[in-house]
Amino acid sequence: MPPQRKGAAARVSEDTEDLTRHPLQAILLADSFATKFRPITLERPKVLLPLVNVPMIDYTLAWLESAGVEEVFVFCCAHSKQVIEYLEKSEWFSQPNFSVVTIESHNSVSAGDALRLIYERNVINGDFVLISGDTVSNMSLTQVIQEHKERRKKDSNAVMTMVIKQSKPSPITHQSRLGTDELFLAIDPQTKQLLFYEEKTDSYRGIIPLDNALLGDNPSICLHNDKQDCYIDICSQEVLSLFTDNFDYQHLRRHFVKGLLVDDIMGYKIFTHEIHSSYAARIDNYRSYDTISKDIIQRWTYPFVPDVMFSGNSATHLEREGMYRASEIEQSRSAHIGPFTVIGKGTKIGNNSNISNSVIGKGCSIGSNVSITGSYIWDSVTIEDGCDIRHAIICDGVVIKSGAALEPGVVLSFKVVIGQQCIVPSYSKVSLYQQPTVEDSDEELEYADNSSGTVDSSITCTVDTLNREMMSETPASQLGPGGVGHVWSICEGAHEEEWRHSVAPIPADKLAEAIQSLEDDLELLNLDGNALSVSGELKSGCNGTDSEDDDVEDSRDDSIIYEKEVEATFLRAVNENIKVPDVILEMNSLRLSYNMTSADCAGAIFYAMMKQALEIPHATAGELRKSAASIIDAWNKLLKFYSKEIDDQIEVIMKFEEMCLESVKEFSPHFSQILHLLYDKDILEEDAILRWADEKKDAEESDKVFVKQSEKLIQWLREASEEED
């Protein structure tokens, strides 16, 4: 007995020593401040939704406890009563060396508000872990906290360390497997400092606007699009005061992180820590719910897996092929349960039913000939005979009458009843509650969950009466005979995006569509290029920019923008009577900034001049020619400056030809006259015209229109040169 007590005493003293050194604290936000899980979150807070039959918050708390966090402040807002009640019932309040304290608020609408409130409470007295209650992880915090502390010693401005993990986004849909948008991060490869954070970008082109200073200030930066933000942050106390100082910070990433990155007055820095072999992910939407459930079943989150009782979950056994079964299951002999399935305690499964890749909660009863694929069925659900359920989320107490079918992506909230033979279309969301009116779906929608959440709680007391009313009200047609619930209409904008965040795998047609649009986009880019190169194949040849396909595309883009710029500059010059040398100066700077040759310049200026000529009102073709002539006359010097070389002059002719063919057909009858005019004005030399004619000799008939038109001039020039010889 004595040695035993000594051992215990030693352990305790060790712990107290730890406590005095760094009592590691954590803030757990038990509210997502988002509406992605509606309509389910109208009735139950997101953190209490079961993830593989265990409430999400248990994963987070169990992980915090195992990672050595000693004090957790659980911030509850929407449905705060439910969260507190749950925690009181669970064993989390009675853990040794792990204290859980709840902080309740009714008027916080964002993470920013929550942190400001916690700052006022003055409970955090050191570095802390900031996470939300829907995080699943098994990473060890020791290393990241060590790194954070060491950085803080050297640089007190290093206020936050963000945990990231490799995750490649799909090139087709531009979202990660968690259903979040492609994330772009710029990180200093040496110091791991975060320099840039952008969640959504122009998805097809992948254009990220980077600040020049970013490149200037840092000797090297690494740009990543294959990282996933785990939403696990190690923060210093300053973070809380920063939120208090900047009362407009709401969102942790969109406002706080970006705010710190952009605002360099205070010089606060954010660093990153990449984890490799451990797991960390946050449930942001239905798709991540699906992905993370699958990861848990495939044991990536070990030891937080169903057959290890890390919280108060019931004993579950792992059988072959990733089948988890709790006790007291009544299963018919003919029922077939496929791999990667979890079946909860006391569930009954009837004859010839087929279940695969699904999670089924406690006390469900499943009839005969039911087929369930990739679905998440919570507790006490009744599914009658012959139902077909694919990729759906079905909450507690739902009744699905015989012969009903759910198409992929359906979400059935609590206690909904689906009538006989009813087919629920894909991506429908059914709830006993009416859809909130459109009013709060404005910009603040992101934070509206809570505000309406408080409203919801007032509703809950009258829910029963409401239910009864609704039962009579509900149009039976939508949910079949005897159906109870409201089908939420999907708002216009969101409909297209619904498949992105749904539990259902991305349907093949959407995928094909995405690939198609990707290809279209590429084609469009090519078309742009082609449009130019109809006559510009040679042009690009003289440009010398056809080094790589990508480059060509880029330079095509650039040349279009460039031409516009030149046109605008020229227009200004005409209107404001700017002198030729000044215009040349401006043109030069434009040319340099777009990295163009003087041939491009000549072409663009000529194009602008012709456009200008067209602008001058003209009644007859003759007048048009005259105005063109006058403009050419006026800006003779400018054009000459850029068309000193034969190549430049050829470019001008080409450009003119192209114009006549496409954009400004008005000039096409006057092609030869204007060509002659340009010759007379010494802008074009005879060599240029002759070479142009020679090059066009082998061209197609359609391309030769203008050569033929100016046949006379060319003939005359030829003869003249021969005579000279």
């Binding site: 007995m1 035993q4 007590r5 051992g7 215990a8 169990a62 195992s66 853990q95 040794p96 098994n138 993990k165 490799q166 995750s167 490649k168 799909s170 990660s176 497997r177 996933q228 490799h276 072999s277 451990s278 797991y279 992905t291 699958k294 990861d295 495939q298 044991r299 990536w300 989150t301 070990y302 030891p303 290890v308 009782m309 890390f310 004993a315 056994h317 792992l318 990733g322 496929g338 791999p339 990667f340 695969s356 890749n357 694929t373 990739g374 990729h391 795998p505």
Partner: protein
């Protein structure tokens, strides 16, 4: 004094969360916990043994359920139960309860004060067979206690209850001692088994194996050791480092090279997770392959195992969870495979699946010899050892709760 309940809860959470690694540590923690459970239990004057057994069983059941994969927990619980039965039995023998209970108690007290030493700590089959005549003999020889009748009844009663508890605690202490010292006991036998200039092969990491090899080295045996690295935990690397530091000639090979190297090896020495009643062993994954290679080349396959590894259950028992599926990220990093992990085939089954079992089962036919702390045994002799250490009533810890 911390309540028993908190201590139990503490270990249960530890086991549940897989925070105790290694069967020796688990065994020690379990034994220490049971010892404090016994010491804090208020024993009624009657049915002492029954009460103790009840208490230990209920705690044991919780512990076993917390981590059914770690067989050492169940082994220790059964060992302690056996100790209680055994002590109760020996008390009964020595006290030889006459016609009234007081006499028996008197006697027990006297035996205790005299401290005549434990009659049989680990009773052999003989003791069990001799039980009835023994007790009867005791019955007859218990007449001298009559003279004490009527004196200090309550004091005697306390003393008697204290006596059983005391004996049990002393025996549990001995068990803890045994577990602690098993490495030395096993290591002592190494000189007899390892010969000069031999080549040994081991697999994974085992403290017992390390001590076993080092002991031979200290006795100036020169030999070489091949260490198979033991993917995916690569504990062989750590073992090789330890051995190298202790001055042994060590060569690290991959698990897949075992078959290629086995022909040069004189003996395979491995540590295991558990030894089953039939003489089969549960060891780190890949052990069966090593055993098969050894059999193919007729190399002796020697298993070193402490007393806590002896499991009285048979591997075909449905209660025995032979395996634990560990985290797939020990094999590959999900980040690098993130793009193919989400992909599913038509029926929603993931195309990429990673399985990482922790244990392997090696049938008794492939094991040549067991080295335990009390000597070397043949696999077919294991059941005999087990019947010395465990009583058949305790084999099923969970059955009682179901009924």
């Amino acid at each position: 004094m911390p309540g028993t309940q908190t201590l139990v809860n503490e270990l249960v959470t530890k086991l549940k969360k897989r925070r105790v690694e290694g069967s020796q540590e688990t065994a020690l923690l379990t034994a220490e916990l049971l010892r404090s459970v016994i010491s804090q239990l208020k024993v009624p004057p009657t049915n002492q043994a029954e009460t103790l057994i009840e208490a230990v069983k209920s705690v044991g059941e919780l512990l076993v359920a917390a981590n059914p994969v770690e067989l050492a927990v169940g082994n220790i619980v059964r060992r302690v139960l056996h100790i209680i039965r055994d002590e109760d039995f020996s008390v009964a023998i020595s006290s030889a309860g006459g016609d009234d209970r007081e006499t028996a108690e008197q006697n027990g007290f006297r035996v205790q004060t005299v401290a005549a030493g434990p009659p049989s700590r680990s009773p052999s089959l003989h003791a069990i067979l001799d039980r009835t005549p023994d007790s009867e003999r005791a019955h007859h020889s218990s007449r001298d206690g009559d003279s004490f009748e009527g004196k200090g009844k309550s004091a005697d009663r306390n003393a008697e209850s204290w006596k059983l508890k005391h004996d049990v605690i002393r025996a549990v202490n001995e068990l803890i001692e045994d577990i602690n010292s098993c490495h030395e006991q096993i290591a002592e036998q190494s000189v007899e088994l390892i010969h000069q200039n031999e080549i040994l092969l081991t697999f994974g990491r085992s403290r017992t194996v390390r001590e076993f090899l080092c002991a031979a080295k200290e006795k100036r045996r020169s030999f070489r050791v091949f260490v198979a690295e033991g993917a995916p935990k690569y504990q062989g690397h750590a073992l090789a480092k330890d051995l190298g530091a202790r001055g042994l000639q060590t060569t690290v090979i991959t698990d897949s090279a075992v078959f290629a190297m086995i022909s040069r090896v004189n003996m395979v020495v491995v540590g295991v997770h558990a030894v089953m009643a039939n003489g089969g062993v549960i060891g780190p994954v890949g052990l069966n392959m090593v055993a098969l290679a050894a059999r193919k080349h007729a190399v002796p396959f020697v298993v070193v195992a402490g007393p806590h590894k002896l499991c009285p259950l048979y591997p075909q028992n449905p209660q025995v969870l032979l395996n634990e599926m560990r985290c797939p990220s020990e094999l590959l990093q999900d980040g690098e495979f993130s793009d193919c992990m989400g992909v599913c085939n038509g029926s929603g089954n993931p195309l990429l699946n990673v399985v990482n079992p922790a244990f392997d089962y090696v049938p008794p036919e492939l094991v040549s010899l067991f080295i335990t702390d009390i000597g070397g045994y043949n696999p077919s002799f294991m059941h005999r050892l087990i019947y010395d250490y465990y009583s058949a009533d305790d084999l099923d810890l969970q059955k009682r709760s179901n009924s």
